[in-house]
Symmetry: C2
Subunit: 225 residues, 2 copies
């Protein structure tokens, strides 16, 4: 509520008001039921005004992304500070990542449909989402950086944060589809993957494993919309 206070130019205030009304509506009504006309009405501006401040409806969701990923980063960083074990830190990162998405699960499909197209500015991998994506990558970079004795070869460790972030996006994709109570299945998927990570890490010392893994990580890390 404070951000729509009377600070900045008139334009900035209007923009903030639209932003706030939109985010509130996305949270309450989801993506589809939040129409641009509704936002305009609740913000007390005309239809055209929303498009003056935000080029498209998707740009408004972008603002939501940013808010969510910022919370992600802060919470995850705080929680990870207690341990230096890589797998444990990753578990915290992923679990927190699912937690911040929680309030939006009911609306997952709507957001997902708008988000997944490579052309959409809403796509987490698109250039316009870069700030939000950067927050997520930072979480995993910290997760890796703060861990000790994980014995991961340097060249692989370097690509890891980006690849782990893609992993988070895939986990979120699974989560969107997951209709089990409390998204229990997604948790199990995460548990299984992490359980595999422990025994698998030492294998990275074998060239027959390390070489393809490095190649895969590089490809995945570079994926961009």
């Amino acid at each position: 509520m404070f951000s729509s206070e009377s600070t900045g130019t008139k334009g900035e205030r209007t923009r903030a008001r639209i932003r706030e009304v939109a985010l509130q509506s996305f949270r309450e009504r989801g993506y589809d039921d939040t129409t641009v006309r509704l936002i305009a009405e609740e913000a007390g501006v005309s239809l055209g005004s929303t498009n003056y401040h935000f080029p498209s409806k998707n740009h408004l969701v972008q603002e939501l992304y940013l808010e969510v990923t910022r919370g992600f980063r802060e919470t995850a960083a705080r929680r990870m500070s207690g341990t230096t074990d890589l797998v444990t830190r990753l578990r915290i990162a992923y679990t927190t990542g699912l937690e911040v998405l929680e309030p939006y699960h009911a609306f997952g499909p709507g957001f997902l449909a708008a988000a997944v197209s490579p052309r959409s500015p809403l796509n987490p991998l698109s250039g316009e989402s870069e700030p939000a994506l950067a927050e997520a990558v930072a979480v995993f970079r910290e997760a890796v950086a703060g861990s000790a004795r994980h014995g991961i070869p340097g060249d692989i460790a370097e690509e890891l944060p980006e690849a782990l972030t893609v992993g988070y996006l895939l986990l979120a994709l699974f989560w969107t589809y997951d209709r089990s109570e409390g998204q229990r299945r997604t948790r199990r998927l995460l548990d299984g993957a992490l359980a595999l990570l422990g025994p698998a890490l030492p294998l990275l010392r074998l060239p027959a494993i390390r070489r393809p893994v490095r190649e895969l990580l590089a490809l995945v890390a570079e994926v961009r919309a």
Copy 2:
């Protein structure tokens, strides 16, 4: 062109004509530039008529799916018949899967956006896509069934085809994002994954590996929109 011949009831003929015009347009113009009004005009029917025969635009893409996956199954089956090595068979299956998608790469984003939402009938994992998905699962079931001495524990082999199909969908997702010439990067991703599969298969005999893998496969195999 034969399917719009004068066979069946009048309704069936109109339906076939609409279907044909739509598929042709999807191939030429992609998803977005194929408007329902355009289809109606080219098929010589009214706007409402298309919605009488196909409840929505997405249902028309469903028809395209089916045609593509049928080609996928036929071609893959023919090509796999020469070998019994699991990894080789999988390579053939996945490579063929990418090949049948080839003509649509330019329009990937449009189709993808329409397809990915769990609510969309267009979603490969939705109930309405079941026939198309079944064709794909059949490809991978055959790939596994026709291979010899792969040494995969029975309980895991059972879930494998469904999980491999999800793998194909993810590969297609990566492919959609892949803007490298001829989607070279996707091929490399596939190569890397398959290179990992060879050395990894024997590890399935270790309980610490097998247990989480089985859990993961089960979760992934059951994913439905």
